[in-house]
């Protein structure tokens, strides 16, 4: 079976989207004072690091950066078995912070639900906002992103693949048809 792949965002496109999102985050939160970034493994953590670079460029310094692994919070143990558990690293307090949760692709919303549960176990943020590079629709939970790089209408069976280079810099986004 031949699967068709289309590049829907090239390296420059990803860069522009992230820069725009960084500006939007700072604008909405009136600066970076109480801001922290938490990326979801794996993919979101790399994008969060990219976003933080841009925030640093704009604001002069970055914000606290953490990663969350949502494996322990999944709801599909029975369907997928015991997936490898990655490390969650949030080396700072979340209480009272404005948390920007970062993921690469927003799909059913279940990953975000899991990530929010995880964050709540670490403290009581004043708010959680969601930043994603791609929103491909097909939500199964009442979740929406606050910051979106690109909305991509997809069929359910299609896949979105966000690729990174060796330096963990996002290279391109492909849409893969089954």
């Amino acid at each position: 079976m031949v699967s068709a792949e289309t590049v829907i965002l090239d390296q420059a496109g990803v860069g522009r989207a992230l820069t725009r999102i960084a500006h939007e985050i700072l604008e909405r939160n009136k600066g970076s004072d109480q801001l922290v970034l938490v990326g979801i493994r794996s993919g979101g953590d790399l994008l969060a690091a990219e976003l933080n670079r841009r925030i640093a460029e704009i604001e002069g310094e970055g914000v606290p950066l953490g990663t969350v692994d949502i494996t322990m919070y999944r709801d599909d143990l029975a369907a997928r078995g015991s997936l490898p558990v990655g490390k969650t690293e949030i080396p700072f307090q979340l209480d009272g912070k404005q948390v920007i949760l970062v993921d690469d692709v927003l799909f059913t919303g279940r990953t975000i639900r899991s990530a929010m549960d995880a964050l709540m176990d670490f403290g009581r943020p004043s708010s959680i906002q969601l930043a994603v590079l791609i929103d491909r629709g097909h939500r199964e939970l009442p979740i929406r992103a606050d910051f979106v790089g690109r909305n991509v209408p997809t069929a359910r069976a299609e896949k979105i693949d966000v690729q990174f280079d060796e330096q963990s810099v996002p290279r391109e986004v492909r849409l893969i048809k089954p």
């Binding site: 322990m72 029975a78 369907a79 078995g81 015991s82 997936l83 490898p84 490390k87 969650t88 995880a118």
Partner: protein, 314 residues
């Protein structure tokens, strides 16, 4: 890679890759234990029965905490090993437990092979928490996790295990685990406590005395002398045991300067280990206990995935 073991009956059945995965998973779970809210919903709705047919405090506690931190419902039952006393066979006991639909039974039993016996007769996952003189897999895994934390790797290490090898399930599991991960194991103990053929379990050398075993070792593991189990034919006295097989500030100097000292607990201070060593900078005994919770969380999590998939497909 996927974990394929529904039961954890012994290290013997685990490959190097399995052990690696368990240790990595344990590392990830360890972070939970330092949180304010030490609980994740991973095994929400799962029921774990800790069936301890032999007295145990720390292993049972460790498994119980591990289950609870993963949000499983853990229930403890204690019983006597002797079916005569219970008036019920182990199979009947197990079938009764099974009728209440647990997902995992963690079993500690005085008879070697009891976990195998259950695994053949019940549908849920069985995790061996120590069976007779056979295996104590979770202890060996927490030992490996602790060694890896301190030494970075297990490959190539020289590990001395000293004490009553014959009656030690910890020694057997550690021998399998250490040699499978590329360590070399040296054993020492009284002649009455070295079982025949032990060197066939892995890359193991039996030393004539304790000093040869700990000479230049990276890790020194002291086994507990079961005071209550020793008949007069195995040892002349604890005094003599301490002299020839006890770890003290003098003989520990034979080991590498950065060697770590381990003990599965509970310690008999002044017998197999001197307090000067037990409380010294080289001891990692409390790290072992802390890692015990993490590695048991890993085991419960990994077998649950296999069990859950099987249930869904079945």
């Amino acid at each position: 890679m996927a974990f394929g073991h529904k039961h954890i009956l012994g290290i013997e059945q685990l490959s190097r890759e399995d052990i690696q995965l368990i240790l990595d998973t344990g590392d990830a779970f360890k972070e939970i234990n330092s949180r304010d809210i030490k609980k994740v919903p991973t095994l929400r709705g799962k029921t774990i029965v800790n069936a301890f047919f032999e007295a145990s405090t720390r292993t049972r506690l460790s498994f119980e905490i591990a289950g609870k931190r993963l949000s499983a419902d853990t229930v403890n039952i204690a019983g006597s090993t002797s079916s005569v006393v219970k008036g019920e066979t182990l199979e009947d006991t197990a079938k009764n437990i099974e009728a209440m639909a647990p997902d995992i039974i963690v079993i500690r039993h005085g008879h070697s092979g009891a976990p195998h016996y259950l695994a053949e007769r019940v549908g849920c996952s069985i995790v061996n928490a120590g069976d007779g003189a056979h295996e104590h897999p979770s202890q060996a895994l927490l030992d490996l996790m602790t060694i890896r934390e301190h030494k970075g790797t297990i490959e190539g290490l020289e590990v001395a295990i000293v004490g009553d090898i014959t009656h030690s399930r910890v020694a057997r599991s550690d021998i399998y685990a250490l040699t499978r991960m590329g360590a070399r194991v040296r054993l020492a103990g009284p002649g009455t406590m070295i079982p025949p053929g032990i060197e066939k379990l892995g890359n193991v050398v039996v030393c004539r005395n304790m000093l040869d075993a700990i000479d230049n070792a990276d890790v020194v593991m002291m086994l507990r002398i079961q005071l209550e189990r020793q008949s007069k034919t195995l040892l002349p006295s604890l005094r003599e045991y301490a002299r020839f097989y006890g770890l003290n500030p003098k003989n520990i100097k034979l080991a590498k300067a950065d060697a770590i000292v381990m003990h599965p607990g509970p310690m008999n201070r002044g017998v197999e280990i001197s307090s000067y060593v037990a409380d010294g900078v080289q001891n990692v005994i409390l790290d072992q206990v802390a890692n015990g919770v993490a590695v048991r969380m890993a085991l419960l999590y990994l077998v649950s995935g296999v069990e859950a998939m099987e249930t869904q497909q079945g």
